[in-house]
Amino acid sequence: MADYDTTPAVLDRAGLAALVRVLAGRGRTVVGPTVRDGAIVLAELDSADQLPWGWGTELEAGRYRLRRRDDEAGFAHSAGPQSWKTFLHPARERQWSADRDPDGQLTIVPDRPEQPAYAFLGVRPCDLRAIAIQDRVLAGGHFADDGYRTRRSGAFLIALECTEPGGTCFCVSMGSGPGVEAGYDLALTEVLDDDGHRFLIRAGSPEGAEVLAELSTDRADEATVTTARTTVAAAAEHMGRAMPPMDLRALMGDSLDAERWDDVAARCLSCGNCTLVCPTCFCTTTEEITDLTGDHAERWQSWDTCFDLDFSLLHGGPVRSSTRSRYRQWLTHKLGTWHEQFGSSGCVGCGRCLVWCPVGIDITEEVAALAEEATS
């Protein structure tokens, strides 16, 4: 039994606006979805008015379109071009600064700026899983990434159960959605029917319960609870895609010599988009920057991609010089070796990689082809 109140309550749109105000009042930087430049992006929100009310998305491999909905739903869109790693594991971050005095003595200090106390509004089940995966990679091993750990441990997560999955979603086959059970501070389910537009809300942590208590909510009525539950259950039946129901880890291990890699390599541009949009991809490189005096240097870390030739560079050349080997590295890591390295799959079924691939390479289709090749 949780030692805080987990009884579901109901919020209307004004209640959601109050939630944003309460979080801001507690000193939190609220981040959530909003429409910008023809996409639903994640950005700092001043008020709930900035949420994408009435906007939906149309997703296909290599295609993303916003569309006006017939209703005023605020969260009936699917994963956009960004994920929460933009905030928790930013694209660029300074790691340390070094100074050399006239005697040649070095002083090296870690970079520990004040980190924002985030509140993430509208974390999809797939993305909630992705955060848990990055937690294990960046903070769960022998060494922890300080910046990540600080931002993460201070973050307040408001999960949002999926009621309308997109054409590229396959969280069900990855076991990460469309409902959420744990790992959040508050969980929302958007309900829109003849009885009105409202949110079922429940706490998943003591702080979540505290925030909820600050809002004027009604105890959830039976009808709202049932509608929320059945809509989420129905969403599971409407996934646009699915991974083949098999041991993907074993399939990856057995497919290292597959011919399909040549087929996908002929289409793949090796642009790395898939790795940048993927909510679990974590790889980084480092860069050394010096000022004009030459006595002050900084170490920066930035996102990198395994599709880059330099990624595997050794004296004598890159280990993975062919696109075939780089796509294979990406996919077999994501679905296979990630298990050995970090104890789970690295894919949550959000579909971002196929939406944002310029040539529409579809991870589910590639895996299905590998599965077919393995059994034929």
């Binding site: 790691q95 340390w96 070094a98 050399r100 040649g104 003595q105 070095l106 002083t107 090296i108 200090v109 870690p110 990679v137 960046l138 091993g141 022998h142 060494f143 922890a144 990434d145 300080d146 910046g147 290292l256 010599d257 974590f282 790889c283 980084t284 490189t285 480092t286 050394e288 010096t290 030459g294 240097a297 170490r299 870390q301 990198d304 395994c306 990624f311 595997s312 560079l313 050794l314 004296h315 280990v319 993975r320 010089s321 062919s322 075939r324 080997s325 590295q329 077999t332 890591h333 296979g336 070796t337 050995e340 390295q341």
Partner: protein, 272 residues
């Protein structure tokens, strides 16, 4: 914690070959935790960058460490150029060690190619210091030319040490070279060891590691007793940058030293 480099000062440098230098460094103030043979440090050349380098010597005196670096690019050249008195930054220790204890009671076989002798040097010293715990100690080393041979004087002294047998081969002999010519694997045939009771420690270019391990398997050395040290690109050494993957292994964490039983199937896949 995200550790930042700790200042170390170069107290001695020796030019091993035209492109390779050994630096002995000592902490300016705080020392890093102790290193074991086979482990590596991230060495930071101020304003240039940071690279993984194995320890080539672990000294008792003042927490000193030795590193032998071959200049192949910007950072390694800057490290090699560090003058006595100059400060470098060090992080570590990182990775798995050789685990010499695995050879207790049996024969120790060390096979090195080129700069690969550097990480094996503290292992050889430990084996000599623990003489009695091991039977025969064989050291087989290969180099491109006689001039590229590391630690030539030390090898000569070692050859005179009672339990050690040292054999050296070069790819291209110069004038006056009377020793072996050819791959280091050729030396295996002439080395005296009992395959079933031998633990081999191998480091060098990947092609040399493959060939050596294959021959050792043919001779009957069990795969898990062939310990190899592998190299991949590394940016962080803390398991976060993703660059050092070899299939399921993160070589900064699960390596650089691993058993051949574990890595043989991985090395067999091209461009893994």
């Amino acid at each position: 914690m995200t550790e930042v480099p700790v200042p170390y000062q170069v107290v001695r440098r020796s030019q091993e070959t035209t492109d390779t230098t050994t630096l002995v460094v000592e902490p300016v103030a705080r020392a890093l935790p102790p290193f074991r043979p086979g482990q590596f440090a991230m060495i930071y050349a101020f304003g240039v960058g940071e690279i993984p380098v194995s320890v080539s010597g672990i000294l008792d005196h003042r927490h000193r460490l030795a590193h032998t670096v071959r200049a192949v690019g910007a950072v390694s050249a800057a490290v090699c150029a560090a003058a006595e008195g100059q400060e470098l930054g060090l992080r570590g220790p990182f990775g798995t060690g050789w685990e010499l204890e695995r050879a207790a009671g049996g024969d120790v076989l060390v096979v090195a190619g080129g700069i690969g002798l550097a990480p094996l040097r503290p292992l050889i010293r430990a084996a000599l210091a623990g003489a009695g715990r091991y039977r025969r100690l064989n050291l087989l080393a290969g180099a491109r030319t006689p001039d590229d041979l590391l630690y030539a004087d030390e090898l000569r002294c070692l050859a005179d040490a009672a339990p050690a047998h040292v054999a050296v081969t070069v790819d291209r002999p110069g004038h006056g070279w009377l020793g072996s010519v050819g791959m280091v694997t050729q030396l295996l045939n002439r080395a005296d060891f009992a395959p079933g009771e031998t633990t081999a420690f191998v480091c060098g270019p990947e092609a040399m590691i493959r060939a050596t391990a294959r021959d050792l398997r043919h001779r009957g050395v069990p795969a898990d007793r062939i310990r190899v040290s592998l190299e991949r690109n590394m940016r962080c050494a803390t398991g976060h940058c993703g660059h050092c993957q070899l299939g399921p292994l993160l070589l900064c964490r699960d390596g650089p030293v691993a058993g051949y039983d574990r890595v043989a199937p991985l090395l067999a896949v091209r461009e893994l």
